[in-house]
């Protein structure tokens, strides 16, 4: 009979974290420096990791353990947000950081990795548990999976899990091929597809809002909800990633994964339990209920856009085609807007408008749920006296929830005005929220896949997006069609206007 730790106190202690080693493929890359190591250090600072926790970084660049530690120290100091740096905590944490150089296509790398993991386990008591993290180029995912499978490193005395970053393929067929390769080394339950949007506090708070309260769920359906807008706007351009972005585009880069997942969280049916598979089953069901557009419906219900040059804040901003590494006639969508319908009893006929773009006026991600207006306008006045109720779930930059409703303007007469009731995460709770990567890394170590994407979800969202992408691929768009710094192409406004709606300006 295995012993249970008798000292746990769930009321006061953070979640239990088992011992493990984490292998980062692509340890010399930007993600490792900017996100992973700062998040791991922060977890160590918060005493969330086992004392023997180890990181084994792998990339092509030859380096010693100490050189890698020095590099990671510089990254942690540079990218640690809202947190103090403690030299003592780092010194202890750094003892568990190791490095090995190798080419992911080289079959000899993986038996060497196996031997190194065994040595680390012996020295640091990691229990044979290993979390592999693919922070490498997407083109290297399959060689890494094949190497792990061939050397049988995906199996061991403890648990083995693999975390992969998006993109999970570039269409449905490639997503299935990637999944098949991963499954040669790992069972589906051991594959953690990370979508950092799902690790954000407000996205998790959607679940709390919907399923922890009794007052919202009765309104959460076609009878009361007029439409839903999901916006992920970025004010920056492609920032040197022109060559990558040229092949991806906003539809694949944002809507297929982040925004589809957010939509699934907003629209899914209540889960019977908060167990990972139960929640993911409901998300998956919702994604499979999104109507796949027929080719002749695509251009009516979607808008592809690309930003052109502009003069913003006294500065000349290049258009997408003027960005380094981008072809002068690129047909890439730097803006995508789609109208989705969910074919189930709850949502039939309710439009879900999703939009994402680069070089929009501000960086903001939010969900706006617009409710139907009161059935009868009994108060005289202009359109503000019949303004519909809006529930705004803000994801970034300021996480929070706002409810807009009408109130009587003080004084004689019956004049109404819209007012906003705000709940702001940052100010309502003084505690620092963990970053999405802290949350998700801890979840993967603990084995909680609730906030991770499953293959059936990936395939369902690709099926919806592929139908749009195929038509877009066959269409020659007259790009650029929106100026940098604007809210996107006029065609996106027209798309909503056809149903009597307008985009919110966040």
């Amino acid at each position: 009979m295995s012993l249970e730790n008798p000292f746990q106190d769930p009321l006061r202690f953070e979640r239990r974290v088992p011992e493990c080693a984490m292998v980062i493929f692509g340890a010399n890359g930007d993600l490792t420096k900017r996100k992973l190591l700062p998040a791991l250090y922060r977890l160590a600072y918060e005493r969330r990791l086992d004392a023997g926790f180890a990181v084994l970084g792998i990339s092509r660049t030859p380096m010693t353990d100490d050189q890698f530690r020095e590099k990671m120290l510089a990254s942690v100091k540079e990218f640690l947000e809202d947190s103090p740096f403690d030299a003592d905590v780092w010194a202890a944490f750094a003892q568990g950081i190791f490095y090995m150089a190798g080419n992911f296509d080289d079959g000899a790398l993986f038996p060497a990795l196996d031997a190194r993991l065994k040595a680390i386990d012996a020295a640091r008591h990691t229990g044979g548990n290993v979390l592999f993290y693919l922070s490498a180029q997407p083109s290297q995912y399959i060689p890494i999976a094949q190497g792990i499978a061939a050397a049988n490193v995906g199996k061991g005395s403890g648990w083995r899990r693999i975390v992969i970053e998006k993109p999970f393929g570039h269409d449905l067929a490639s997503a299935q091929e990637l999944s098949a390769e991963l499954h040669s080394a790992f069972a589906e339950a051991e594959v953690y597809r990370i979508d950092h949007y799902l690790g954000k506090e407000t996205v998790q708070n959607i679940l709390a809002l919907r399923f922890g309260n009794g007052i919202f769920e009765p309104l959460w359906n076609r009878r009361y909800v007029n439409h839903v807008q999901i916006t992920a706007a970025e004010s920056i351009g492609v920032e040197g990633r022109g060559a990558y972005y040229q092949e991806a585009g906003a539809l694949r880069d944002m809507i297929q994964n982040h925004l589809s997942q957010v939509m699934a969280t907003i629209a899914m049916e209540p889960s019977a339990t908060f167990r990972p598979d139960s929640v993911r089953d409901e998300r998956s069901k919702l994604l499979r209920s999104i109507r796949v557009m027929k080719p002749d419906e695509v251009l009516q219900n979607t808008v592809s856009g690309q930003y052109g040059p502009a003069h913003i804040g006294g500065e000349d901003v290049p258009g997408f085609r003027q960005e380094p590494g981008v072809k002068p006639d690129a047909q890439t969508d730097t803006y995508a807007a789609v109208t989705f319908f969910v074919d189930n009893w709850r949502w039939a006929g309710v439009p879900f408008y999703l939009r994402s773009g680069k070089r929009l006026p501000k960086r903001v991600t939010e969900i706006a749920i617009q409710f139907n207006s009161a059935p009868l306008a009994i108060f005289n006045g202009d359109e503000t006296t019949t303004a519909p109720n809006l529930l705004i779930l803000r994801i970034q930059p300021e996480e929070g929830i706002s409810l807009k409703f009408l109130s009587k303007r003080p004084g004689s007469g019956m004049t109404l005005r819209p007012v906003s009731m705000d709940f702001n995460y940052g100010s309502s709770f003084g505690e620092r929220s963990p970053s999405a990567y802290e949350t998700l890394l801890l979840d993967a170590i603990i084995g909680d896949a609730t906030l991770y994407t499953r293959q059936d979800m990936v395939e369902a969202s690709w099926a919806v997006v592929d139908a749009v992408q195929h038509v877009w691929n066959e269409t020659k768009f007259d790009f650029p069609n929106y100026a940098a710094g604007s809210w996107g192409p006029k065609a996106a406004d027209d798309m909503l206007a056809r149903r009597g709606h307008v985009w919110r300006q966040p």
Partner: protein, 337 residues
Amino acid sequence: MGAAGGTIAPDRILHDMADLWVSLGKQGEGDAGVLRACSMTLVVAAEESDDAQAIGETLAALMPEHPSRAIVLRFRADAQRGLAARVFAQCWMPFGHRQQICCEQIEIAASDASLPDLAAVVLPLTVPDLPVILWCRSPRLFQLPDFSQLAAIAQKVVLDSAAFGEPAAALGEMSGAAAAGSLLADLSWTRLTRWRELIAQIFENRAQLANLPLVTDILISYRAAATPPTAYYLAAWLIDGLAKVGARPRVQFRSDGGEPAWRLSLVQLRAQGSADALASIALAEGSCAEVKTGGLVSKAPLPALTDYALMREELSIPGRDPAFERTLAAAAKLALS
């Protein structure tokens, strides 16, 4: 606001609070008004001599995370009955926002003799449908015969056994009150959370967990002249945990010398005949704990345990804390043995 004859009317206080909100609202411009936030009523019972500024600063620090209606009762040892009250607001402007967030604060000055009248004044001032927490900063007040009437308003009473003169008597008294049905919290127990969490984390590792039944000795050192309540709590909690895996360890308390502010300095779990401790957590320089286990050494920060930090944690647990209740009874027994 004081009333003739040293009495106060709750309705008048509530009216003053309503006026306060109107005047705060008028100070806002356009949409940037005032946001009222409240998640509980926090009643603070303190001596008149207690540092009013320190209490105010602690409440202000607590408000962003635990917005509450604060009722501060300041007692003077006086046989004359007399009450006086004033209301004001604690407001803050979240960084980068135009809107102020405000919480109400009521301050009531009372004599010991008016304690029996106080419950009837405080009860109508509590916020409906939200928990009421009473933070009693003075052991003397807790021991006054009529204090129980005030305590009955609250779901939970927060005390600090370290402020009581004699640890064994304090633990005995609190254990007795808890056994009689009072829901108590003790900041001396709260001070242990980080130490306990570090210990628990060590045994999340299966290799270390397998050694736990081998523990035969517990050593707890502290920087204080006499064994503080926190050391008794830690011992009782460790004994309880180890009993679950079949270990029956001996406990040794060791004083490392008195300091003006006592602290735990070391806790070790040892197996008989083993040269090294199975687990050891020692206070290190720079507000750090040095954790040694399985040949590995790591460091973890031990942030300063201010009143704010302790109350912040306690206010997060408005209901029962079974681990504390169990440990309080065992610690009292240990201290009195």
